[in-house]
């Protein structure tokens, strides 16, 4: 039989210049969501500045920053978990349980760092449980974390007898109230955590496998990635960050109660998805989550300053959420067809 063999060794094919440019579009595509969010943020800021004399105030920006912290810290871990194709509904419960543990330990006389460490260990523990069940037992992460949501919250009630723990420890409370160079400590914590994890994402196996597992867990496993072990890392991280968020709640409010942070998981997930992270996994960025958080926090703040009635606030928030996402999506769509 006669086969035909070309003499093309190493020669470029027609796709070269074409695809190289396609790449830049791909890079720009993610940015489209961020750009849209930045635009929404700008619109919000301009509108609220006009509508309220108190909005454009350094102190008010501290308010906005403080209001972002609890949901924001948990959103870092949630972003990781969702990019990795998972879901963590247990964060609200973990916040409450970890906060209660820290408060109780401090009240029992333990030093603050140890108490906070214990809370984080608790969060990691719940996270590892989530990761193990969702990974090794192959149980849907929604169901897994819905179950741990109920279990952890229930145990928090059982152990506390439903009673709140009031914290008097000055150091603990200072975390919630103090400022460094005019910036609230909790905001510093939030930003540092965002930068730290955000810096790891493109530079480490941890970050790369987050995307790989979320993009195609089967392919990642076939490529030799220990997918289930990495899931422990992702959920463990989410749990530990939720625990930190819980301690921040206690520091800010001065009390730890078993009912704290109920429903916080929805706020967290809203920010993550608004930030452009795909629920199908494999796509998303921490920076987007940060913008999503900011858009929501400024909206909350502005609507209150402007004096929008609280029922209407819900309506307005829902509409803004839809518009922001729709806009990002439309811009992305039009880019596709340029």
């Amino acid at each position: 039989m006669s086969a035909v063999k070309p003499t093309l060794a190493g020669g470029p094919d027609t796709a070269g210049p074409v695809t190289r440019r396609a790449l830049r579009t791909a890079g720009a595509r993610l940015d489209v969501v961020s750009l849209a969010l930045i635009a929404v943020l700008a619109i919000e800021i301009v509108a609220f500045s006009i509508a309220s004399p108190y909005f454009l105030d350094a102190d008010n920006f501290s308010n906005i920053g403080r209001a972002m912290t609890i949901v924001g810290i948990a959103a870092i871990g949630q972003t990781i978990v969702i990019i990795a194709g998972g879901f963590d509904l247990s964060v609200g419960s973990v916040m409450a349980a970890a906060g209660m543990l820290a408060a109780w330990l401090v009240n029992e006389g333990l030093t603050l760092p140890l108490a906070l460490l214990a809370a984080v260990v608790l969060g990691v523990g719940v996270g590892l449980l989530n990761g193990a069940v969702a990974g090794y037992l192959r149980i849907n992460p929604l169901i897994t974390t819905l179950a741990t949501l109920a279990i952890v919250r229930g145990l928090a009630f059982v152990i506390s007898g439903g009673e709140a723990e009031v914290v008097a420890d000055a150091g603990f409370l200072a975390i919630g109230t103090d400022s460094v160079a005019g910036i609230p400590v909790v905001v510093v914590i939030l930003v540092v955590l965002f930068l730290a994890v955000g810096c790891l994402m493109p530079r480490t196996r941890f970050g790369r496998y987050t995307y790989a597992v979320g993009s195609n867990a089967r392919a990642a496993r076939l490529a030799g990635v220990a997918v289930n072990r990495w899931r422990l890392v992702f959920y463990g991280l989410s749990g530990s960050l939720a625990a930190i968020a819980g301690c921040v709640t206690v520091a800010r409010t001065g009390q730890a109660e078993p009912a704290a942070n109920m429903g916080a998981e929805l706020d967290v997930i809203t920010a993550v998805i608004l930030g452009g992270t795909s629920l199908n996994g494999g796509r998303g960025r921490l920076f987007g989550t940060f913008l999503g958080l900011a858009v929501l926090a400024v909206l909350n703040n502005g609507l209150i300053l402007v004096g929008v009635e609280s029922y209407w606030q819900q309506v307005v928030k829902g509409v803004v959420l839809l518009l922001a996402v729709a806009w990002a999506e439309l811009r992305r769509g039009s880019k596709d067809e340029v």
Partner: protein, 353 residues
């Protein structure tokens, strides 16, 4: 923990007496007069008789900003308070700023920061998360904003609100009277829908209820007093869990029930009716559900004995009155309580026509 039996060891009679000296629950003679000192940002005790206090609702010489922190905008009980404050503020030409604490501790602190930032002359610091009181009051104190609180005692803040224990006791007495009349106080069971998440003040309503019934019918055995968790503040869950409990307790012949608010009480009443059992539920607060059901009556048909009125629609008169006095530099009592009243099918028309 033994919340099933309301805080007593098994087998012993139910004792839950009102504690003395609880802030927010002081008897009239213990209440002092307060005046706000703008320099220190604290209330200071002044001489005078707190019992003489009457809110002055005349238009102030100069308008000011009044902050209203809503303890929970979705609560049927909080709605008329908010509406009243809005009405009074408008009538008096005050600038009203608003924030909903949404029954969440972190939201409450957030609201305090936002409201204090806008430099109001007075803030109604409505918050039902007792543990967050210190944190949010620190914010108002630092901003030198005088405050009053709703239903939950907060430091350096004038307490205004329900007499939780007393309100429960009023309901308990009414229920006890019914039991004596209809059942001669025989085989009486107490069924109480609770939700610890709603705080200790709300819990006092149940304690008061048990004491009230027992003051009429005598001691009721501990194993005949049941506390049932009803987390959702709606009728549906109350209906289901009460039905299940009734199924498991066919021996509970005569039932007296109470819970924290009217929607849940309505669910309990439905459950008693549908299960064909003999019992009555006493509602709390007389919100629109409570008023409507009580009017529907009679109790023999609705299983809804009536409700304890908390008059939320009148709260604004007191709260705004306090604000006017404090801003005007006048002294006010550290605690202002409203008068509760048990409304039944027969007499509710006089109050809510």
């Amino acid at each position: 923990d033994d919340s099933d039996t309301g805080g007593t060891a098994a087998g012993k009679p139910f004792v839950a007496e009102r504690e003395a000296g609880i802030k927010g629950d002081l008897p009239p003679e213990a209440r002092r007069l307060w005046r706000y000192d703008t320099a220190t940002g604290r209330y200071a005790t002044v001489a005078g008789d707190a019992a003489d206090f009457r809110a002055d609702l005349s238009r102030p010489a100069r308008s000011f900003t009044l902050a209203y922190m809503d303890p929970w905008a979705s609560s049927p009980f909080a709605i008329p308070i908010r509406e009243g404050v809005e009405r009074e503020a408008e009538r008096l030409g005050l600038r009203l700023i608003y924030c909903d604490a949404a029954f969440k501790a972190d939201k409450a602190v957030e609201c305090a920061e936002l409201l204090a930032r806008q430099r109001p002359a007075f803030a109604v610091a409505g918050n039902w998360q007792a543990g967050a009181a210190d944190a949010l009051m620190r914010v108002f104190d630092e901003a030198r904003v005088p405050t009053a609180s709703i239903d939950v005692w907060q430091p350096n803040s004038i307490f205004y609100g329900a007499d939780n224990y007393t309100s429960g006791e009023i309901a308990g007495r009414a229920a006890g009277a019914y039991a004596r009349r209809e059942w001669n106080c025989e085989d009486v069971w107490l069924f109480m829908g609770e939700n610890k998440e709603e705080g200790k003040a709300a819990d006092q309503r149940l304690v008061g209820f048990a004491d009230g019934v027992q003051s009429v019918c005598g001691t009721i055995d501990d194993d005949r007093i049941h506390r049932q968790r009803m987390a959702a503040a709606t009728g549906d869950q109350a209906l289901t869990v009460t039905t299940d409990w009734l199924t498991a307790h066919p021996q509970a012949e005569h039932l007296l029930a109470v819970t924290i608010d009217d929607p849940r009480a309505a669910g309990i009443a439905k459950a008693i009716g549908q299960s064909g059992r003999d019992g009555q539920v006493a509602g709390m607060t007389c919100d629109d559900v409570g008023v409507e059901l009580t009017k529907q009556g009679p109790a023999s048909e609705t299983n809804y004995l009536g409700c304890v009125a908390f008059f939320p629609e009148r709260a604004a008169e007191y709260l705004v009155g306090i604000a006017l006095d404090v801003v005007g530099g006048r002294a006010v009592p550290e605690e202002v309580h409203l008068q509760h009243e048990f409304l039944t099918h027969e007499n509710i028309g006089e109050t809510y026509p």
